[in-house]
Each structure stands twice: as structure tokens, then as C-alpha cells.
């Protein structure tokens, strides 16, 4: 068996026994990337020498064998997180050539856990998109069908993990940007509760919605990664000072007596038949494993997309204001400073980013604020209350992750609204601030494309989410399927 196909927990065992060195693990990935990334384009930046040097340092220090959670494990990083000395472009021309000058808190945590920071993965520009087609540096391909998109915005991270080009990768999820690509590529993607993981060093798209999480090959690895990433950080005032459980030890507790909620608004006529069937089969499976099923209602679901595209774009309009050519990144000279701003931002941002900045600016403008932004915040509260009420009757909620499997490259690029609807099952979760995971639960027949199951939990109850996901995963073979590359 080649090293690159291992999960983290399998690799760790070999590293800790000394059967495999960090250098060998890193080299195995570099070879795999060399072999397949020309087709996939999951990585934007890779420095083999630097990765191997990190591995050598770990090998010399015996870090892989001293029990550290990720000692000697190479991890890929979405191009939206700061790694000291590495480029960070957010897949945008406006940050072309920009090098980060500090480590994001999650990156610091990875380093402390002994991980090797492997390379940077592709994404939709500033995490705005659901297909990775909005990257300024080219499209990433879905490993299951190279004519199709990997999902987005963290498409590079999802494709890299699904294609065994990484043992795990970091992504960010603002409206589904981890869970949707995980579903479309057939891997596990976890969006932790808002406040569970520090956002310091994550280039903000929508500050009240963004959350960092891992892509992994199975749920056990997801638990392991979350254990490393989670925890309070003084540098992020929205991170919560709450202790972090050892998610890896509670995985095997089973689902007996656990109540699974099925929101009636998510199981509707007109849904893709194959996806509907796969999710219903997964529910059946969990019932057979001892879980109870209850029907619940999330009555404000219909408003989620509209609310999201007001709040997220409003925040983005301010967050992206700093890219002005004054202090870093690209600059296009102008007659005066205003002209320079216009030319720099005009040339630097892609069309989707511009569309969202304009939309958000409008929503915050005098005379429109009350009707749009303020109203959206009120409905957001209702959406959060929907989940609070629902969770009085159940422990976790099950839904499909995406209304459809991976679509063709170019299929939705002309219709932004159609693209926005890719996230209808994931967006409410960010608005409510709760946690959720997507894991494989089947395939479409022709072409053979992965289908994702979404498990949602109460705030800070990642334990139950991971437990349900793990129990289902261990009773199925879906997570062992590999794309035919």
C-alpha cells in the first residue's frame, strides 16, 4: 500500500513506531501531487524543498514519535490562511505576490502539534463561490470526473484530500464552503461551531459567518484535526473560552437512543432522486443502528439564502476595503489616490467579488440599511431560533449536504443566482452559528459522483455530530472509495 493513501491515524501509527519517517510521508505526497495535480490543479503553491526541510527537522527532533497529535503529518492549507513566509493570495489578483508576515492561530496550532505545512490549495476568489471557478488562477477539477467542478469555495482542499494529494487540508466555511466541496469530492468536511476555532489569520470574507475546519479522509481524522484546531485564542475576541473535549475518544459510543431530526423543509419534492434515495438510505441505516428519528421543522429555511447574501456581502464590503494598493498587494498607478483605488481594485478583483462588494455596499447604504441589513439580521435571529427549538426535540439533524452532485465546469457561471442555490442546505448552519459535518453516503450512477450526508449539531456539540458520522461511516464502505485517477 502506498503511503499517500493512508489516513492520518494510519500514518501516525507508522510514524510513531518509526516504520515511516516524516520525510518519507512528505515525499510520498510530493510524488502523488507530481503524478496527478497536473490534471486536478488542487494546489496553487507548493515548495517541495521547504516541506522536506520541515520534515527533516521533525525527524531529527523525534517529533513524530513523542506522541504529538500530528507529528510528521503533512497538511495542505487553503490559500486564505496566513502562514508566515508563504504566499497568501486568496486566489485573487489583488494579492498576487503577497507574502504573509505572520502565522494564523490555526497554523501555529498545527506547527505546535508537529504538522508539516505542505502547500496552498485553490479556492474561489476570497472564498466567494461554490465551484472554485472564481479562482483567478484557474479551475480545480473534481477527481471523480475531470470535466466537473470540485465544489467551493474550498475546492482545492477537498480535491487534494479526495485524490490522496494530502492527508488532510484546512478549509474555511462561510455558507458551506467546507461541507459542499467535501460532499462533491467524497471526503469528510467539518464546519465547527462559530467561536470554536480561532479566526485570527483567516482573511475575512464575512466575519460573523466564517469558520475554519478540516477536510479528512474519514471521521476519526476529522475528530483528531478538530482537537488540534479548537480552543480559545486571545487574539480572536469571538473565539469562546470553553474547554475542548477529546473528540477522538467519544467517537465509538454508538447512536443508540440518539434522536435524529429530519427537517421537513429539506426533504422536498423536486429534489434530485438519487440524492434523496442515498440520504434516506443513510437515515434507515442509522435507525437500524439504534437511533430514533423525529420530524422537525425549520420554518424560516426559505429566507436563508436571501439573508445570507445580505449579511455576508455587507460584511465583505468592509472586509475587502483594505485591499487598496496602499500597503501591500497589487497596485495600479492612478492620477490621484482615488483613481489609484479604482484602478487597483478594478483590475485586482474578479467579477463575483465585485458583484458582492457592490451588493453589500448597497445593503448598508443610508436609506436602505433598515430594509436590508437590519431586516436580514432580524431574520437571522429567527433562523437561529428555529434550530434552538428543533434541538429541543433532537440531538442531531440530518440533511443532504448539496441538492445535487458535482456539476459541469461552466454550467452555472452565467447565472449567479443558480450558483447561490448550491448552498441552500448549508447556509442556515452558518447563520445559526451551529456545527456540521459532511461525509460520503453514496454515489450517483452515471456518471459515478459522490453524494454527501450532512449531520448538524447544537452549538459546541461537535462530539455528537462526529459520533453519529463515525458510527454511520464505520457501518458503510463509502469512505473507502477512491476516484479513478
Amino acid at each position: 500500500m502506498s503511503l499517500h493513501t493512508l489516513t492520518i491515524h494510519e500514518l501516525r501509527e507508522k510514524l510513531q513506531r518509526g516504520n515511516v519517517s516524516a520525510r518519507e510521508a512528505t515525499q510520498a505526497l510530493l510524488d502523488r501531487i507530481q503524478a496527478v495535480d497536473g490534471k486536478l490543479k488542487a494546489y496553487l503553491w507548493l515548495n517541495a524543498e521547504d516541506a522536506l526541510a520541515q520534515a527533516d527537522t521533525i525527524d531529527r527532533g523525534g517529533v513524530a514519535r513523542n506522541g504529538k497529535l500530528l507529528g510528521g503529518v503533512p497538511i495542505a492549507i487553503k490559500d486564505i490562511l496566513s502562514v508566515d513566509g508563504q504566499p497568501c493570495t486568496c486566489a485573487s489578483k489583488i494579492l498576487k505576490g503577497h507574502t504573509s508576515v505572520y502565522d494564523a492561530s490555526v497554523v501555529q496550532r498545527l506547527r505546535d502539534a508537529g504538522a508539516i505545512l505542505l502547500g496552498r490549495t485553490n479556492m474561489d476568489e476570497f472564498a466567494m463561490g461554490s465551484s472554485t471557478e472564481n479562482s483567478s488562477w484557474g479551475v480545480t477539477r473534481n477527481p471523480w470526473d475531470l470535466e466537473r467542478i470540485p465544489g467551493g469555495s474550498s475546492g482545492g482542499s477537498a480535491a487534494a484530500v479526495a485524490a490522496d494529494e494530502a492527508f488532510a487540508a484546512l478549509g474555511t466555511d462561510t455558507g458551506g464552503s467546507i461541507r459542499q466541496p467535501a460532499a462533491l469530492c467524497g471526503c469528510v468536511g467539518l464546519k465547527p461551531t462559530y467561536g470554536r476555532v480561532s479566526r485570527y489569520g483567516l482573511v475575512a470574507f464575512a466575519s460573523s459567518l466564517d469558520q475554519i475546519g478540516p477536510f479528512t479522509k474519514d471521521v476519526a481524522d476529522s475528530a483528531l484535526m478538530l482537537r488540534v484546531l479548537a480552543g480559545h485564542d486571545r487574539r480572536d475576541s469571538t473565539s469562546v473560552p470553553q474547554s475542548v473535549p477529546d473528540y477522538t475518544t467519544t467517537l465509538g459510543a454508538g447512536v443508540k437512543g440518539l434522536r435524529i431530526g429530519l427537517p421537513k423543509e429539506y426533504f422536498i419534492d423536486g429534489m434530485d432522486r438519487e440524492i434523496d434515495a442515498a440520504v434516506r438510505a443513510a437515515i434507515k441505516k442509522l435507525q437500524n443502528l439504534g437511533a430514533e428519528v423525529v420530524e422537525i421543522s425549520l420554518p424560516h429555511t426559505d429566507y436563508a439564502v436571501a439573508v445570507y447574501y445580505l449579511i455576508a456581502t455587507a460584511e465583505a464590503s468592509a472586509n475587502l476595503a483594505r485591499f487598496d494598493g496602499v500597503r501591500y498587494g497589487a497596485r495600479v498607478a492612478g492620477e490621484d489616490v482615488i483613481d489609484m483605488y479604482g484602478k487597483t481594485r478594478g483590475a485586482g478583483f474578479g467579477p463575483e467579488v465585485k458583484r458582492r462588494i457592490i451588493l453589500g455596499t448597497y445593503a448598508l447604504s443610508a436609506g436602505y440599511y433598515d430594509a436590508y441589513y437590519l431586516r436580514a439580521q432580524k431574520v437571522r435571529t429567527l433562523i437561529r431560533q428555529d434550530f434552538e427549538k428543533a434541538f429541543e426535540r433532537c440531538d442531531v439533524i440530518l440533511t443532504p449536504t448539496s441538492p445535487e452532485a458535482a456539476f459541469r465546469i461552466g454550467e452555472k457561471t452565467d447565472d449567479p443566482l443558480k450558483m447561490y442555490l448550491s448552498d441552500i442546505f448549508t447556509i442556515s448552519v452558518n447563520l445559526a452559528g451551529i456545527c456540521g459535518v459532511s461525509l460520503p453516503c453514496g454515489f450517483t450512477k452515471s456518471p459515478r459522483l459522490p453524494i454527501g450526508l450532512q449531520v448538524l449539531g447544537k452549538p459546541f456539540d461537535e462530539e455528537n455530530v462526529l459520533r453519529v458520522a463515525h458510527t454511520y461511516e464505520q457501518a458503510t464502505e463509502w469512505h473507502k472509495q477512491r476516484p479513478p485517477l
Partner: protein
Amino acid sequence: MQYEAVIGLEVHVQLKTKSKMFCGCATEFGADPNTHVCPVCLGYPGVLPVMNEEAVRKTILTGLMIGSEVARFSKWDRKNYFYPDMPKNYQISQYDLPLCAKGLVEIKLNGGATKKIGITRAHLEEDVAKSFHFETTSGVDFNRAGTPLMEIVSEPDLRSPDEAFAYLTALREILISGGISDCDMEKGQLRCDSNVSMRPVGQKAFGEKVEIKNMNTISGVRRALAYEIQRQTAALQKGEKVSQETRRWDDATGRTSVMRTKEYAHDYRYFPEPDLMPVVVSEEMIAEIRKLLPELPEAKRQRFVKQYGLPEYDAGVLIASGTLAAFYERAAQGSRNPKAISNWVTTELLGKLAEAKKTIDECPVKPEQLSELVSLIESGQISGKIGKEVFAEMFAGGKAASLVVKEKGLVQVSDTGSLDGFVEEAIAKNPKSVADFRAGNKAAINFLKGQVMKLSKGKANPQLVGEILLRKLEGG
């Protein structure tokens, strides 16, 4: 028609904290450009703000001093506009829920009457950077960016430039006494914008409001307002309309000019700052801060008048700075003549400090040393005139008064034997004055006294000299 001015002031105060509002960088003034900066205050991609609690406490303390309602729940907002001195192109400020609402500042009018000026609100925000313009390029120094800045907005209660001047002076005294800020306008620690409109006397409704910016001193504010009132009045009397706009004061020409008109007013698109939690102020926290409440300037002035027997004016000079007042009180405590100490502090000491361009914190003479000097004079060991010489020496070298007196041999000569010699010499050398005195011109004795002082190099005890002279002239 008679018009009256309606004036409101917006004062920005840099708080005296060690670090910036949302990062750990130092707030020190005068460092090389861009040396007190970090990814946070430079607005690098991915950074997040962390609130400086000391700045919040100082703002609450200010609120308590001016009788504000301190908000138990307050929040941060983003104020959006593009400018190169704004690292993020939005400023973290407070929009609809400021830390302090309402309040009063009492001002003194000419003639001794007082007037209460309403405070609308006081909120906290981050300062912007400083732009520099060179021949063909511009530069930005981000050292100042992120310094805690408190904005205090007054009600439109002021009616004249003098009232505005008095308000700023009173507010400054309060802020200094609470250790909130040093309020050094030259360092930009206190900045002021003004709103001014005119209305016919007796009319309730306000006229069109003009905002004036770029007034860098308190007296500049007074002059700018005087100019603007005269400009608007002239326009109204000609039947013209005053247009709502922002104008820039030019201190050199003494005029205001249009900066931007109403059509170009910013839409700041305020919205709640999602990167920061709301500020929840507990009763315990307020009680804790209340303990730090200093004596308010007006109360302190009255106490100085009563306790030390000082004239109102002198007391006012002493309490203008908390450190000066503390210096005075330490010196006065060890003295039998606090009034004399006050004279020394307000004339010699402040004079020398101004000359040396030093602040009271940098004063080389310690309060106890000044106290000793005054008691040397009081006890007749040195004359007041010599005292000034000794003080100059103390200020230059930081030495104790008694040491200077000893080293320079400046002890007053009170021994009649030595004085007799000087007196006789003076009488012998100035027969005309002696004759004048004996002819009835009693004032002539002062000239002779001066000659004796001169001969003794100022060391003779003037009182004794007078007695001996009188005895010799009348007896001779």
C-alpha cells in the same frame, strides 16, 4: 437684524494608555515613522482587533467626571470610508450605543458667572495614521494608527467664541486631572471640530450648520469661530443663504474655505463590528472606576484658595495640570508660607520651565528643595533677590538650596560689625545723598541702602542695613 451664534464642539482626545486600542503596539509619540506598527494596526489580511480594556476604563472615568450615564451595554461599529491614513478603510468606532451618554461641563464666563454646557455623548474609537506630502509623492506614518481616541460631542449650547474657549479650557482641565490624556495639542492629543450656525435672536430653530475642521489650538478655535460668525452674519445680512458644508480653517490667513459641500457628504455605512464582542459594563467595574475619580478642577481650585490662602487666579494656574498641582502641594506641605511657595511656582519655576522647554515632570528642582529655598528666605538667611540667583543655580544643577548658598558664599550678612564698614563707606562716597537726607529728603536713604547692598554684593541683610544707616545719619 440681530443674529446669535449656535456652536457645538466635537473634541477628539488621545487617551494616555501604554498600548493601542486594538493591538499591543506602543502609543509613544515622536518615534521614527512606522516603527510602532504590527499586522493588526497596519490592517494586514486576516488580522483581528482585541479591545484595550484600559481605554474603556478611561472613557468610563471621563463619563463619571462629567456626569454622564455610563452604558451597561455598549458596542463597536465599523465606519466605512476610503482614505490612505485608514489601514482597513473602515474605522472601528461606536455609533448608536456609545460608552457614555449625556453629561455636563461647567464653564466660567467673563465676570465670574458660570454656565453649564451639555454633553451629548462620549465614545471610543481608533485614531487614524498621519499622511505626509512630499514634492511628487505622499507617505503615511502608521505609528498613530490605532491609538485610543475618545470623541466628546457637546450639545449646541455654546453662544460665542469665548464660551467655546472656556469650554475647551474646562474640558482640558478635567481630562488632565483624571489622567485621561495629557491634552497636548501640539502633539495632536486634543483635536477639535466645530459646528456653527447663526439664527435671528429670539428664534428657536437652528440655521444652516457649517462644520469647521483643522483648528489646532484652543485659541485657533476661538479665532476660527469669530471669523466664521462674522462671515455667516455678513452673508445673512446681505440676504444670502448659508449653505450646509464643511470648511477648513487656515490659521495663517485667518480664514475658512470650503472643504466639501453637502452633496459630497460621506455615507459612512455604519454597521456592528462583527470581530468584537459588545462591551458589557458591570456595576462592580463602575464602582471600581469610581474609586479613581479625582478631585474635579473646580473643587480643587476652591480647596487651594481656602487651604493655602491663595488668590483664585493663582489657584487656577496651579491646578491647570495635575502634576503641577501635586508639585505645589508637596512643596507647600513643608512650608510655613504656602502663598510664597505659590509665587515661586507660578513665576520663577514656570518661567524657567518655559525657557528650558521642559514640563513639570522634567523639573530638575524637587518640591522639597523649593520648600527649603523659601524657608531660607523666610528665616532671613538669604534675601529674596539672592533667592532668585540660588534658584537659577538649583534649576541648572539640581542642587539643594542650602548647598548652593554655602558653595557660593551667599549667606546673608547680618553681623553688624561687617555691615558698619559697608555703611560708612557708602556715607563717605555719597555726600550729596547724605546732605539730601539731612535736609529732609527721607527717600534719599533708599539710594544709600542700594549702595550698601551693592558693596556687600547683595548679601547684606537689607533690614539691618536700614537700621544702621538711620542710626548713623540721624546720630551723625
